[in-house]
């Protein structure tokens, strides 16, 4: 007995060391590139003059530019959250729990919007609801014989509209998932107790979903508040400034005061994001009811009866206005010669398309984006796989630390991440990677790592541990067993996770705007400059190309995970 037990024990200790090294490595990376810069940013907010002072915070209130940006952000984010939930809940219910026609199609469509970069929406709505020449404005004006355009996109209302149409899918996905996980017999028990379907929705379904609805609302709020792409394209021309656009303006100005103001705004944004993160993981997350259901988890499908066609038409209309119309607008813009005229044979050109595939600067930026997104995704997936293994298969002490840091990182607004990296990584503390692709890659990893990690974690939690134990019993060390057994089984999810880091990094705008240099411009930034300064058509061609890529990747992800997973 002794002889057998001893070597086993030793092996166990030896493994422990490797795991510790791995965890240590990931933690060190996150400490240096995420925690330290963020802490430094907080420090700067209070020690802007070298000694402790609340002067910078005071400027938040006293300086109207700052205060307006702050209130605009809170107002637009709150309204988007409200409208987002008001859209997402009924939508999730109709698509998930009723006999609506074309449910699958609608679901895919709404979920796919999640992968589309938000600035594409801004570009489209700019074209549609421009106060003088917006296509939709003109259209409505003609129909109802109005003498003034009904909508002005360059306003708080316009900003809320575009933010809502682009962030409600976050809520839709969260709520749909929670609805799918709910044991249908919970609702049946209510029916058999004498409750009508509607009363059941109110007294059972909704209260049980409440924590998820709150989580979804918070997610929409913080995403809208941290968004830069939409307010920069439609807010700025209308002088509707938000925290994010202000921060970037200040950084561009580059003065010491400007940087201090940027830091303070970033500090507030970070605080909001952290509170939201805390509430949704530790307060709401705890309350989320995990319902262990029996074998039959076929959801109850509510028969809409006479309303079936009505709701289908309603949803079709919604899908057309919110999803199809903006995409079509961007696509048609990319082939128009004169944007003042309508789409006709003599107003069509493929010049812009030719340009995006031939112009050197665009290709160079595309390459930059491709390289940095690929590296971020690959490195991110390596970390994700190891983390997933540590989280699910081991109870090594400290495995929660990197998990926690990764969650915080991804919950931190992009603007804040980028700003903190600029301040901490420009040589002041011995590391100078500003103006290189590395800083871009690190920023992407901090922001998007969680997406990849969650995918692998959920895949791995579905693999029985005995499969790995069998490989260990056959003499393989854990790393070997991981490589031979676990990896092949989770490969589809790993690929899916890779794309979930790659895609948003590839078309990233916010962080790139702050971190780019002349040699490291990215696709998102290129698109933004074309949209704002040079040629909306070229920007639209780029956006359409990205859209097509999104659709292809989404289709691929669906295939890879046998429909279980898209987004």
């Amino acid at each position: 007995m002794q002889d057998v037990a001893l070597p086993l024990l030793k092996k166990e200790r030896f493994n422990f060391d490797i795991k510790w090294l791995v965890i240590g490595g990931i933690v060190a990376f996150l400490l240096v590139f995420q925690v330290f810069p963020l802490l430094y940013l907080v420090f700067r907010a209070f020690f802007s003059t070298g000694t402790f002072s609340l002067g910078a915070l005071k400027r938040m209130y006293s300086y109207p530019l700052n205060w307006d940006a702050f209130t605009n952000t809170i107002i637009t984010a709150s309204l988007s959250m409200l409208f987002g939930i008001m859209i997402a809940f009924p939508l999730a219910w109709l698509v998930g729990r009723t006999n609506l026609y074309g449910k699958k199609f609608f679901r895919t469509l709404f979920v796919m919007t999640y992968m589309v970069p938000p600035y594409v929406g801004a570009m489209a709505w700019l074209r549609l609801l421009n106060p003088t020449v917006g296509n939709l404005n003109v259209f409505i004006q003609n129909i109802f014989g109005l003498d003034k355009a009904p909508f002005n996109i360059y306003s708080i209302g316009g900003l809320v509209w575009v933010l809502t149409t682009f962030y409600y899918p976050y809520a839709f996905i969260t709520i749909s998932r929670a609805m799918e996980k709910m044991d249908p017999s919970l609702e049946e028990a209510s029916r058999i107790s004498g409750s009508s379907p509607f009363k059941t929705l109110r007294t059972i379904t909704m209260p049980m979903m409440a924590p998820s609805i709150v989580a979804a609302a918070l997610l929409v709020f913080v995403s809208a508040a941290s968004c830069y792409g939409i307010p920069s394209i439609i807010g700025a021309p209308g002088r509707v400034h938000t925290v994010t656009t202000r921060i970037i303006d200040y950084v561009y100005i580059g003065s010491q005061d400007g940087l201090t103001d940027a830091t303070t705004l970033a500090f507030f944004l970070m605080i909001i994001a952290n509170i939201v993160l805390y509430v949704s993981t530790f307060v709401v997350g705890r309350k989320q009811y995990i319902t262990v259901s029996g074998k039959s988890t076929r959801p109850n499908i509510v028969d809409l009866g006479r309303w079936r066609l009505f709701f289908t038409v309603l949803i079709t209309l919604f899908a057309f206005i919110i999803v199809i119309l903006p995409f079509l607008t961007v696509a048609t813009t990319s082939i128009t010669i004169n944007m003042g005229k309508g789409l006709s044979m003599d107003n069509i050109t493929f010049l812009h398309w030719e340009r995006i595939f031939t112009r050197k600067s665009i290709i160079q930026s595309g390459m930059n984006s491709f390289i940095s997104a690929s590296i971020a995704a690959t490195a991110g997936m390596v970390i994700s796989c190891v983390m997933a293994y540590l989280l699910i298969r081991t109870n090594v002490k400290g495995r929660r630390i990197p998990d926690f840091l990764i969650t915080v990182g991804s919950g931190t607004p992009s603007v804040v991440i980028a700003l903190s990296l600029i301040m901490a990584m420009s040589g002041k503390f011995g590391i100078n990677i500003y103006n290189t692709l590395s800083i871009m890659i690190i920023a992407y990893m901090i922001k998007y790592l969680l997406m990849g990690m969650r995918t692998v974690v959920s895949a791995m939690s579905q693999i029985s541990p005995s499969l790995e134990e069998a490989s260990q019993i056959s003499g393989a060390k854990w790393l070997r067993g991981f490589k031979d057994i676990t990896i092949p089984l989770i490969i589809p999810s790993v690929v899916a996770g890779w794309f979930l880091i790659f895609m948003p990094s590839f078309y990233e705008l916010t962080m790139s705007t702050l971190l780019y240099s002349n040699n490291t411009k990215t696709l998102g930034y290129e698109l933004y400059t074309y949209q704002t300064f040079h040629s909306q058509q070229t920007a639209s061609a780029l956006a359409t190309a990205i859209l097509i890529l999104v659709i292809v990747v989404n289709w691929l992800l669906n295939k890879l995970t046998a429909g279980k997973f898209s987004v």
């Binding site: 059972i204 209260p207 039959s296």
Partner: protein, 354 residues
């Protein structure tokens, strides 16, 4: 008034026929069990009675009311039924009290009435002290009682239970059988009970409906199901059985794989299957007259001592026969020895020639 009349009910999911012409009358205060292997359509049948599924054709009456027919469909909330779900379906956002009180609240009873009734039911299901707990603080067995309490609180005349005990451990399962039976007697209600566990069905039911592939195999009280199973499926599914191939002749059956014959007075001729329950075989009978089914000679292959019984395998030519003997025979018998088997009772099923 809660007899159930099920008249020529069929159910298709897409193109698949899950229930095939189901007709039966379940009397008031009767305890009827739907028994069959997993996937045979038990839950589907129960859900049609509850109103969660619409029959593709046929009618269901509860008492004198048509609840489901081609023209009429009463939704579940108007059927006045109590139901216990396999997953319990206890609402996690309500306390035990609120869960059980829910049906009464829907029925708009007064607060004091609700309190009195809920407390009485909680007493019945032994959950009195737990009324303010939330479900996640309860064990599986306790959650199951909450579900039972909720189903009983509005004093329905009809109670439906879908494998209510299958998620409990063995000990608790046996005591709950008894409790459910007691409650049924006390409240005087009609019960339709679904299970795939034959001992559960035997122990609790007045009558058992055996289903296979959506088709009724036999409807009878437990003793008859066990002693006179109407076909090989029922004989095999309920209890243990040895099947032996044979050829029926006048006065005897020649067992083909065994090469011996047993006496037979029945009417079949030609190919048959003989079914013998292991406890209907006596090892080395002292009185051959106590074995009207005849005597076979074999060799003891193996024995398994199970405490209360001695589970034996006896080889006769190409067949192996299972015999359940008294446990003390484990010490007197030796593996490998020759034995005679006295058969007390046989069942004979005609083999349809194709």
């Amino acid at each position: 008034m809660s007899s159930i009349t099920i008249n020529k009910v069929t159910k298709y999911f897409d193109k698949v026929e899950v229930i095939k012409e189901f007709s039966e009358l379940i009397a008031e205060k009767e305890f009827v069990t739907l028994l069959g292997p997993s996937g045979c359509g038990k839950t589907t049948m129960l859900r049609m009675i509850a109103g969660f599924e619409k029959p593709t054709s046929g009618e269901i009456h509860i008492g004198n009311t048509v609840v489901s027919s081609a023209k009429k469909f009463v939704p579940p909330e108007q059927r006045g039924i109590g139901m216990v779900f396999q997953s319990y379906a206890v609402w996690p956002h309500m306390t035990v009290f609120e869960n059980v009180a829910y049906p009464l609240k829907i029925a708009k009873l007064s607060k004091s009435e609700i309190k009195a009734k809920v407390e009485r039911v909680l007493e019945t299901v032994h959950l009195g002290p737990y009324s303010h707990r939330i479900p996640s603080q309860l064990s599986g067995g306790q959650q199951q009682r909450v579900a039972l309490g909720r189903a009983l609180v509005s004093e329905p005349n009809l109670l439906l239970l879908d494998e209510p005990l299958s998620n409990l451990d063995a000990k608790l399962r046996e005591s709950m059988r008894f409790e459910i039976k007691e409650i049924q007697k006390k409240f005087g209600i009609t019960v339709v009970y679904v299970t795939h566990d034959q001992t559960e069905a035997m122990a609790m039911s007045d009558r058992i409906i055996v289903l296979n592939h959506g088709l009724i195999q036999q409807i009878a009280p437990p003793t008859e199901i066990y002693c006179r199973p109407s076909n090989k499926f029922v004989a095999d599914f309920v209890g243990k059985v040895n099947f032996l191939k044979g050829e029926a002749k006048i006065g005897k059956i020649e067992l083909s794989n065994i090469g011996q014959s047993i006496p037979y007075q029945g009417t079949y001729t030609g190919k048959v299957t003989v079914a013998i329950r292991p406890e209907n075989i006596v090892l080395s009978p002292s009185d051959p007259n106590s074995c009207p089914g005849g005597i076979l000679e074999g060799k003891l292959l193996a024995m398994f001592y199970l405490g209360d019984i001695n589970d034996c395998r006896i080889a006769i030519n190409n067949d192996i026969i299972r015999v359940i003997a008294e446990s003390n025979t484990f010490n007197t018998l030796k593996e490998g020895q020759n034995l005679s088997l006295g058969i007390k009772n046989i069942l004979v099923y005609e083999e349809k020639s194709e």
